[in-house]
């Protein structure tokens, strides 16, 4: 809504909005700042905001003590693997539902959505038991598959809503020019679908990265991603605010940056296309 308003009014809006924005962002800012403090400064009263001796020591300690890189790699592997696998499986499904809809397409889409509503805790033991019996408890590949299945409905839905927006006339024109199914997909649809697929990859990577039910319950040491790494800080020993902050900053920084790029997709992806 581009309505003309007076400058004082705009200045007031700006001040209030920035104030609230900074208040909401403050816990993240504070965590980042604290990660550069010494442990003594981290708990100082009154708290120091910027005037402290900036140090990178905490990051070095966290890496040394708990082998942060391994957890990071597990997170990248699990989130990345499950997302890519999910998209590979979902693209053909979403493509066929968007371009060759049948009477049952709507039912299938809604049914897929309903599997997403299944509360994880309701099937915790069966999955746990299956993992034990297949010998894949605390295994990265098992988590890739499980997180892929959890996010598959969202991936199909997002891709479906993107593909739906590709005009069907283009397909007809391509067919008239003699393009077969293969050429249609390869040369007509793929270039038009790339932005939608990229957004889907981005949002689902974020969702998988932050998933904290299965990753906490099905991992121990080998496959533990960053969610579990951070949870291990819940029983502290001694002074640890600065180290907790450093660990937290390392766990959220990559995703925060990716997240900011995916704001628009977030709305569409998480509302299953109901709000655009």
């Amino acid at each position: 809504m581009a309505r003309a308003v007076s400058n004082p009014r705009k200045a007031l809006n700006t001040a209030i909005a920035w104030g609230i924005g900074l208040l909401i962002f403050f816990p993240i800012l504070w965590t980042i700042l604290t990660s550069f403090k010494t442990e003594a400064e981290a708990i100082a009263n009154p708290p120091v905001f910027l005037a402290f001796d900036w140090t990178l020591e905490n990051y070095a300690v966290v890496q040394e003590r708990s082998n942060y890189m391994r957890f990071l790699w597990n997170s990248v592997f699990i989130a990345g693997g499950s997302t890519i696998l999910g998209v590979i499986i979902a693209v053909p499904a979403a493509w066929s539902m968007a371009f060759v809809p049948s009477k049952r397409t709507k039912d299938i889409l809604l049914w897929m959505l309903s599997t997403k509503m299944l509360p994880a805790v309701g099937v915790l033991y069966p999955i746990y038991l299956l993992c034990i019996q297949l010998g894949v408890l605390d295994n990265r590949y098992a988590l890739v598959v499980i997180l892929m299945l959890i996010n598959l409905p969202i991936i199909v839905w997002m891709l479906y809503t993107y593909f739906k927006e590709i005009p069907g006339e283009i397909l007809e024109a391509a067919r008239m020019d003699g393009a077969g199914l293969k050429e249609e997909i390869l040369y007509v649809l793929t270039p038009m679908a790339v932005p939608g697929i990229a957004s889907t990859l981005l949002l689902n990577f974020i969702l998988a990265w932050n998933e904290a039910f299965w990753t906490l319950n099905l991992t121990a040491v080998d496959a533990a991603p960053l969610t579990a790494f951070i949870a291990s800080y819940s029983s502290p020993e001694g002074l640890f605010f600065a180290k907790l902050s450093a660990a937290s900053t390392m766990a959220i920084a990559p995703i925060l940056i990716l997240g900011w790029f995916s704001q628009k997709q977030l709305v569409r992806g998480l509302t299953f296309g109901a709000v655009k």
Binding site: K106, G122, V275
Partner: protein
């Protein structure tokens, strides 16, 4: 437009996704159902045969059940109330003309991307810690005794932490909804002498009603199964045990799988009731 050929190709392309989700749904679900009818204690005697509905009645009649339902309702309701009310206000604010709107949006949306274990631990320690937390410093600065947040006000604390994560989601969706409103309608109302309040009440709010419903339904589904935030803060102590957490404890901590599975079936039924409403709205949207 679709030929017979492309129809069968379409079915073929859909098959892997449909098959996988079917397996993913049916196998664990039927296992949960099966276990829920049996007396099954993996560490104390294993599977001891059918008890049929005993687990269901025992789960409901256990002294932990109703408090956990109450806790779930308070937590979910509290978070919904906060995120919807403040979400509407924030969305209205962010829709106003201002300088640096993009940056403010980024600041507001950021908490949603913080992983649940991080936000729970940061709040628990750096803000709510009774000796060294920022709140404790703040309380002392005003001469008050610091509050032991997680044991004295556990539900409030959890609601605060989770609301901080979900308010951005509500704000973003509601903002998207407001921005799709036709500004001419508002201008016309303004010229007809409608004040701020009546423009909000009669135009903006009705326009947002669908988005609000969607926010409530989607959040309810996610909030019914919050886990990590309770896991790393109170561990279910101090009356902060939700239905989800109770089931988790029955299944993995006390290893009473039959009882926990019966609870799981209740949770599934509950989630499906909410899901039904959401699906109806989403389904309507598909037709349009």
């Amino acid at each position: 437009m679709a030929t017979q050929h492309s129809r069968s190709a379409a079915r073929f392309m859909m098959a892997p996704a449909v098959f996988l989700l079917l397996v993913w749904m049916l196998v664990p679900l039927s296992m949960t159902l099966w276990f829920s009818f049996r007396r099954f204690l993996p560490l104390r005697g294993g599977d001891q045969g059918f008890v049929w509905f005993e687990n269901y009645t025992r789960f409901i009649s256990s002294s932990a059940f109703w408090p956990s339902v109450q806790t779930t309702l308070i937590i979910v309701g509290g978070i919904l109330l906060i995120s919807v009310v403040f979400g509407i206000l924030l969305a209205l604010l962010l829709d106003q003309p201002m300088w640096g709107q993009g940056v403010v949006r980024i600041l507001v949306i950021a908490p949603f991307f913080v992983m649940p274990t991080v936000s729970a631990l940061v709040w628990k320690n750096m803000f709510m810690d009774p000796t060294n937390g920022l709140f404790a410093h703040l309380w002392r600065a005003f001469g008050a005794d610091p509050v032991v947040w997680l044991s004295d006000a556990p539900l409030f604390s959890i609601i605060l932490i989770v609301s901080w994560q979900w308010l951005p989601f509500a704000t973003l969706i509601l903002l998207t909804a407001i921005q799709s409103l036709d500004s001419e309608q508002l201008e016309a109302a303004e010229m007809d002498g409608a004040g701020h309040l009546s423009r909000f009440g009669y135009i903006i709010l009705p326009h947002m009603s669908r988005a609000i419903t969607i926010v409530i339904l989607i959040q309810t589904i996610f909030l019914l199964s919050i886990f990590a935030e309770i896991f790393v803060t109170t561990g279910g102590a101090f009356g902060s045990r939700t239905l989800t957490y109770l089931i988790y404890q029955r299944v993995l901590e006390s290893q009473n799988v039959g009882l926990g599975s019966a609870g799981g079936v209740y949770a599934i039924i509950l989630a499906n009731i909410v899901a039904l409403f959401l699906m109806r709205i989403v389904g309507k949207n598909l037709d349009a």
